[in-house]
């Protein structure tokens, strides 16, 4: 009883358009109301007066630092925000209480007062044994979930011995060729106890199948498994680049996973619709929200078209955003994303269940903001970005390490990154009340602005025929590139300052002790692969691959066939090779 009353009391300060709230508070404290709630006309007049009598004389004496202040995304930031900017906002309709539609304030009623976000550091390099060691280290340091980074050959469906894999094995993540590698990767890690996120997209079915198979070997049933596969192919075409197949069969693989998991792996998050890489490619905050949610719309449409009912799969959709340096803009971005998605799901797709309307998301701090110069400064950047994610209500978070603009992070750097989250959680107080920036004129105004601009983008994409068409036309890529180009030009012109890069520079020695993955990893991986192939039942593998080939030509759900093949130690490259034969490969539309 107590807390809603407190909130109601605080509300009139924020805006006067909220009728029920205003009335109650007015009855209690008429004096306060008069003081902070001048009539609309009065407020605009006072603002104009303030501008004439206070601001202009000040500007005449002391001009501001810049003619125009722009957010990181390039949107204009006003000198001051007042109730004038939030006057159209309706508390109940546009914000609601935490855990209530449209979830602007968060998806749970108590948020971090109940349980902190999941601290989940993305990790993986070299071979499975080395990565297994890093996961155990992170769990021992208090990390609460695993996040697997795969190397590029794995992400693009090539085995370690493929000529295309030359130089790339084990470099940006762990090399996985078959179930044998997965067994080593999760050795001694109980899969019924941890939740695992896997950054895998084009071959997501294969890695999920391997995860299911390795769990079986541990005696863990599929319905006990918790975790996420990224499985978001659209942003691969837009920004990240690890696509294999063309859009149509790719969308089929994705909806096959939705259907299979709804039946057999019910707690699994079947997709992590990702804005992270769109932002890393240089988009604005608004574009990040707009293109990510437009991707989300495309997946929902595809799933419905394949015969699924929206409330059967929508609760398992999850999202993944970037957390950049512009603290308040980022908080507004997260809030706007939740509000837009809730409305899209309810109004456009008629989702009935609350869980289908909630946008749950993982966050990673912005890799592109890390500087190779004075790398310890990155700890501070990551702290600001952590705060943005927490104040924005994230469900899980990866914090980047200070040395990631140079190489893979060392163990020391990863520990500091994890400690950053733990300090924000336990010491900053930011986690003790839900959505503490709600009601800030600026944050609410930015939230509404981002929502409006994102909806305009979504309407434009609808007009182009949906996201797949917009990608094929190069529209989305071009919009992002233009933003990226503008941003970088501003940095070069010193209109934007990047500390340690274009200002406050020092002479530095080149950093020592960087973590590198040697060519020996590829050699050893190829040797293990050859040994495994010699030991397995090759007839059974051939038969299982033949079944996948047959099913891919038809319209059956491919998942059961893939699970069967990985159990027999068919390799990732073999399975993807069969699918390449049937589906063909995507050709990038290059736009500059």
């Amino acid at each position: 009883m107590k807390s809603p009353k407190t909130k109601v009391k605080a509300k009139p300060k924020i805006k006067k358009a909220v009728k029920p709230v205003k009335k109650k508070a007015a009855a209690k404290k008429p004096a306060l109301k008069a003081a902070v709630q001048p009539k609309k006309q009065d407020l605009f007049t006072t603002l104009a007066e303030w501008n004439n009598t206070c601001v202009q004389p000040m500007l005449a004496k002391y001009p501001e630092r810049k003619k125009q202040f722009l957010s990181t995304s390039g949107d204009e930031v006003k000198r001051v925000y007042t109730p004038c900017e939030t006057e159209g906002l309706d508390y109940q309709k546009d914000l609601g209480f935490p855990g209530q539609y449209p979830y602007t304030r968060g998806v749970q009623p108590t948020m971090y007062r109940g349980k902190f976000w999941t601290m989940r550091q993305y990790a993986g390099f070299g071979d499975a044994a080395e990565s297994n060691k890093r996961y155990k280290y992170l769990l021992a340091q208090g990390q609460t979930g695993l996040s697997i980074a795969f190397d590029l050959p794995t992400q693009i469906g090539y085995d370690s011995d493929d000529p295309m894999s030359a130089g790339e094995v084990g470099k940006v993540g762990v090399a996985i060729d078959s179930l044998a590698d997965m067994e080593i990767l999760f050795d001694g890690i109980p899969l019924d106890k941890v939740s695992t996120s896997m950054t895998i997209n084009a071959p997501a079915s294969v890695l999920l199948a391997m995860y299911i198979a390795v769990a079986e070997k541990q005696g863990v049933k599929p319905d006990q498994l918790n975790g996420t596969i990224q499985n978001d192919i659209l942003k691969e075409y837009i920004a990240r680049g690890t696509y294999i197949f063309p859009p149509t069969p790719s969308m089929r693989l994705i909806t096959d996973i939705f259907e299979y998991c709804a039946r057999s792996v019910p707690k699994w998050n079947t997709i992590s619709i990702s804005g992270y890489h769109i932002r890393e490619a240089g988009s604005s905050a608004t574009q990040e929200v707009a293109f990510t949610l437009a991707d989300g719309i495309a997946y929902v449409q595809a799933a419905i078209a394949s015969g699924l009912s929206v409330d059967d799969f929508a609760a398992r959709l999850s999202f993944f955003f970037n957390s950049h340096n512009d603290l308040l803009e980022e908080v507004a971005k997260f809030r706007a994303a939740r509000r837009i998605w809730a409305r899209i799901m309810k109004e456009r797709f008629k989702a009935q269940k609350a869980s289908s309307q909630m946008l749950r998301f993982h966050t990673q701090t912005a890799g592109s903001t890390l500087t190779a110069q004075q790398p310890d400064n990155n700890i501070i950047r990551v702290t600001i970005q952590t705060l943005a994610a927490v104040l924005g209500g994230t469900q899980s978070l990866h914090t980047n390490s200070r040395d990631e603009a140079l190489a893979l992070p060392t163990e020391d750097s990863v520990r500091i990154a994890l400690r950053t989250q733990q300090i924000v959680a336990h010491e900053s107080g930011a986690a003790d009340t839900v959505d503490p920036l709600a009601g800030s004129y600026y944050v609410e105004a930015r939230t509404s602005e981002i929502e409006k601009a994102a909806l305009e983008y979504i309407a434009k994409i609808d007009k182009l025929g949906g996201m797949v068409k917009a990608i094929e036309k190069g529209y989305v890529q071009k919009e992002i590139q233009d933003s990226a180009y503008r941003y970088q030009k501003d940095v070069e012109a010193q209109e934007r300052i990047v500390v340690g890069v274009n200002k406050f520079t020092v002479k530095e020695e080149s950093p020592k002790n960087l973590l590198k993955v040697s060519q020996a990893v590829q050699d050893a991986q190829m040797k293990r692969l050859a040994e495994m192939k010699a030991k397995r039942d090759n007839e059974a593998v051939k038969k299982a691959l033949g079944e996948i080939h047959r099913a891919a030509h038809g319209s059956e759900n491919l998942m059961p066939f893939i699970v069967d093949a990985v159990r027999k130690y068919a390799t990732l490259g073999e399975i993807c090779g069969v699918l390449r034969e049937v589906f063909g490969e995507y050709q990038e539309s290059v736009v500059l």
Binding site: L152, Q155, E168, K171, V172, G241, Q481, V590
Partner: protein
């Protein structure tokens, strides 16, 4: 008026990080060069062939995945094999400082690391 300098910007290997490559391609174009961009996931063979076919003076390679030590020298070697040793190669990306001497010894003229400005690249090409 002399012919415009032609430059091929290429992404060798499997790395999908093309923000930098696209930025450099566009900045070089704005600086008056003729620029061809290959798109992602090019083999060294495809890059060398494109460089010869497009008759470029420069090839700029971008790699952020750590595979530069195998991929960059291979392009230089292939250009030699294709009788085009005069095509000059430079590179950029997340490349540790202690890898740079080896790359230069293998014939890569210059390496631009994070924080380098497009103007530096333009000046470098104009001077060389």
């Amino acid at each position: 008026m002399p012919n415009k300098i032609r430059i091929l910007i290429a992404k060798p290997g499997l790395d999908g990080h093309d923000r930098g490559a696209k930025y450099i391609a566009r900045a070089l174009r704005d600086a008056g060069f003729e620029v061809i961009y290959t798109g992602l996931r090019q083999t060294p063979e495809a890059i060398a062939a494109a460089a010869v076919q497009e008759d470029v003076q420069w090839v700029g390679l971008s790699c952020l995945s750590g595979a530069h030590n195998s991929l960059f020298p291979r392009v230089v070697q292939l250009l030699k094999e294709m009788n085009a040793p005069d095509i000059k190669v430079f590179g950029g990306g997340v490349i540790p400082a202690d890898d740079i001497p080896g790359l230069k010894a293998a014939g890569i003229r210059e390496i631009f690391t994070p924080g380098a400005s497009s103007q530096q690249v333009v000046d470098y090409i104009n001077k060389n």
